[in-house]
Amino acid sequence: MQTIALKSSLVEAASEVLESMCFLNVLREEEKKSQTEDALIWSQLDFTGANEGRFCIGVCPETAMTMAGNFLGQSAEEITTEQMREVINELANMICGSYLSRSWKNSLFDLSHPVCKDGAIPALRNEKAILTTLTLDEGAVHLRVVLAT
C-alpha cells in the first residue's frame, strides 16, 4: 500500500476517534520529519498480523488532560494522572485498531497492551515510519506508525 494512502487512513482514523470520543476537532494535519518535543505523554503499542509494527500517540500534558476529561465526561481538573494515562492508552488502542482495519481491510491483527510514558517519543532507527501531527484548538497530537514492511 502506498505511503500516502496509509497516512490518509491514519489521519481519518485519528480524526474520527478524537471527534467522536473526545469531542475535539482536527483543524489541520501537517507533515513533520521528526517529533522531537520532549515534554509529552505518549502511549505505544505493538501490532502483529497482516503487517507488523508499532503505533505511538504523543500529546502535551495539558492536551492529555483535556482529552481525558472529555472522554470520561469530567472536568479536566477532576482527572487524575492515572486516569489521563488510561485514556491516552485507550485512544492509542482505538486509533491503531481503526487505522489497521482501514488500511488492511478484512485482515486480522493482534494488538499489545498500550504502555504510557512521559518524555520524548523515542527516535526512529532507520525504520519505515508514517509520521503526522494533527493540530487541534487544544494542542498538537503526534502520531507515528512504524511498519516492518
Binding site: E16, S20, F71, L72, G73, N93, M94, S98, L108, D110
Partner: protein, 133 residues
C-alpha cells in the same frame, strides 16, 4: 424491567465510558459490573445474575474470543447475550465473533446512541444491524 450488565474490558477508561453511556441512555439499569479480562468476567457470570455481557476482544489472560467460547460451552451461561465492542472493523473478525455466539458487534469509536440501540436490540432478542461507523 431493570437489567444487570457486565462490562469486560481491560481499559478502566473504556469501562467507565461504557458505564456512563448506559447510565445516560433510556435503558433501565439495575446493576453494572466490571471485569478487566475474560477470566474475571466468567467468575462474575458464575456468581451473579447477568442479563447482558459487553465485551472487548483484545484483553490479557482471557480474551473476548475465549470468553465467548467458555460461555458457549456452559449450559448455565450460554443463553446470556453477548455484545462485542471492538476497534476491529474487519468483516473477518465480525463473522468470527458472530459464529462464536455474539449477538451483536459494535466498533469503537462509537456514538452513545449506537451502543444504546445495539443493547436494546440484543436485550429484545433482535438480530444485529450494521453498527460499524
Amino acid at each position: 424491567m431493570a437489567f444487570n450488565v457486565l462490562i469486560a474490558d481491560d481499559s478502566p477508561a473504556m469501562r467507565k465510558l461504557i458505564r456512563r453511556v448506559i447510565t445516560l441512555s433510556s435503558l433501565d439499569l439495575h446493576e453494572c459490573l466490571d471485569a478487566g479480562n475474560g477470566q474475571e468476567a466468567l467468575e462474575l457470570l458464575r456468581t451473579h445474575w447477568i442479563d447482558i455481557v459487553l465485551t472487548d476482544i483484545n484483553m490479557p489472560i482471557m480474551n473476548g474470543e475465549q470468553l465467548l467460547r467458555e460461555i458457549g460451552c456452559d449450559s448455565l451461561l450460554d443463553t446470556i447475550p453477548v455484545l462485542v465492542i471492538s476497534t476491529d472493523r474487519s468483516e473477518t473478525r465480525l463473522q468470527r465473533m458472530m459464529a462464536l455466539g455474539a449477538r451483536d458487534y459494535v466498533t469503537k469509536p462509537f456514538l452513545p446512541e449506537t451502543l444504546g440501540c445495539a443493547m436494546e436490540r440484543v436485550l429484545a432478542g433482535d438480530q444485529r444491524a450494521d453498527n460499524r461507523a
